[in-house]
Amino acid sequence: MADKKWMPRWFYQLASPRWCYQITGKLLPWFAVAALVLLVGGSVWALAFAPADYQQGNSFRIIYLHVPSAILAQSAYMLMAVAGAIGLIWKMKVADMVLKSAAPIGASMAVLALATGAIWGKPTWGSWWVWDARLTSMLILFFLYLGVMALNSAIENESTAAQASAVLALVGLVNIPIIKYSVEWWNTLHQPATFKLTEKPAMPVEMWLPLLVMVIGFYCFFAVSLMQRLRNEIIWRERRTGWVRELLDKQ
């Protein structure tokens, strides 16, 4: 790992759990404040001030939850797979921990996207579940998350578990575009000309600006929860080392 020094210095510093613990400790409050401000501000803006949809009325406002959670579910998978690749190539412990920490957050984002999609579907389509291409892809993404989490918890040895989940996450990453394409194609084959939820022909600025705020807020929230989980994981795995003992003694 250390003999090929063509990556920037911070990359190698990230490999040290101790350094990672300290830097996330410093970043955490900033992201927490940003997440709180953006999410509260964005929700108030979205629910109270953004105009109602001319077709769907107020029920469309659930997209302010649905879209950010769907975007986050996909980003979290990307992050997980990239962390897995880094862990496999550079044998970096912290990357293994990021993979393990990101999976449950991504999975819960996928659940949130599915739940809000179902709630939205009831007034729009008249049923809780419709085999819409986007919802189906999200369901499969959720299954992929479950697979990674199940494999990670089934293997007892921590580093083996991390490497195996990394391989699975990478295989999933290759498959995601294929799955997305095949499901969309299947959907047009079976349900031509259904009413598409998120592909608005033109969303006015007053509508998408609060959405943008919410998306950024969700990213900040994701960063906060990821760092929290990562710090827990670091403390747990490094519990026998001197610096963690010192830290625990101080408290």
């Binding site: 299954f143 007892e156 195996a164 391989v167 999933g172 799955i179 095949s182």
Partner: protein, 237 residues
């Protein structure tokens, strides 16, 4: 490092020899343990029998269902047979010996998967018309059914082998492997059953087969690498 003792030609001959030796060994193993060979086929037949019993024996209705049912049954039968792919090698220690061979691991992995496919996927493909008849699939659909299975089942075997390699060190890998692999099977299922439907309705088949072929090419290129990485990881614990 000096490694000029072995000309490249000699190495590639060694690889081809290993590939053939592995295939021969796998065939021998399955023919001596016939249950491994026959069980997935019986399972395939039984799953297809459940649908008329569970839904309706009405011929028009079943004919509509047939492409999907045959494909889902073939997919599950392949999945069922996947767990045994590396398990017996793991248990008797031959997998360790395989990993310590100087020959590239992906050659052996690929040989094992291909031999496995010939004994499950190919057999399922040959048996599929029988199920088609049972489910009143129109005769025009048969070529589509067989061709799509012929191109689709190797992909299923390749992807399934990744799951088998990841779970080989675990005592209860059977359920876990389906959890890992089933979501990855979805594109093959979609294109495969659509191909059958297209031939039933008289639409051209070429596009679907091209898509299935593209998936197979991708799986052939990438899966052996993932399988060998997964085997090394599973053994190292």
């Amino acid at each position: 490092m000096n490694m000029h003792t072995n000309p490249r030609q000699q190495a590639s001959e060694g690889m081809a020899g290993l590939f053939m030796a592995t295939c021969r060994r796998e065939f021998l193993l399955s023919f001596r343990r016939k249950s491994d060979l026959v069980n997935p086929l019986i399972f395939f037949l039984m799953v297809a029998t459940l649908f008329p019993l569970g839904v309706s024996p009405e011929s028009g209705f079943l004919a509509q269902l047939a492409p999907g049912v045959v494909w889902v049954a073939a997919l599950l039968a392949t999945l069922l047979s996947m767990d045994a792919l590396f398990r017996s090698d793991y248990e008797d220690g031959s997998l360790e010996q395989l990993l310590l061979s100087p020959q590239p691991l992906f050659v052996v992995a690929l040989a094992k998967v291909i031999a496995h496919w010939m004994m499950t996927g190919l057999a399922l493909t040959l048996m599929a018309p029988l199920l088609g008849v049972m489910l009143f699939l129109p005769a025009e659909g048969m070529p589509g059914l067989m061709l799509s299975l012929l191109l689709g089942t190797p992909t299923l075997s390749l992807i399934g082998a990744i799951g088998a390699a990841l779970t080989v060190g675990l005592k209860k890998g059977g359920v876990l492997i389906s959890l890992l692999v089933l979501p990855l099977y979805i594109p093959v299922l979609i294109f495969g059953s659509s191909a059958v439907q297209a031939t039933v309705t008289g639409l051209p088949l070429g596009g679907y087969l091209a898509l299935l072929g593209a998936l197979l090419a991708l799986a052939l290129a990438l899966a052996p690498l993932a399988i060998s990485a997964a085997l090394r990881i599973s053994i190292s614990s």
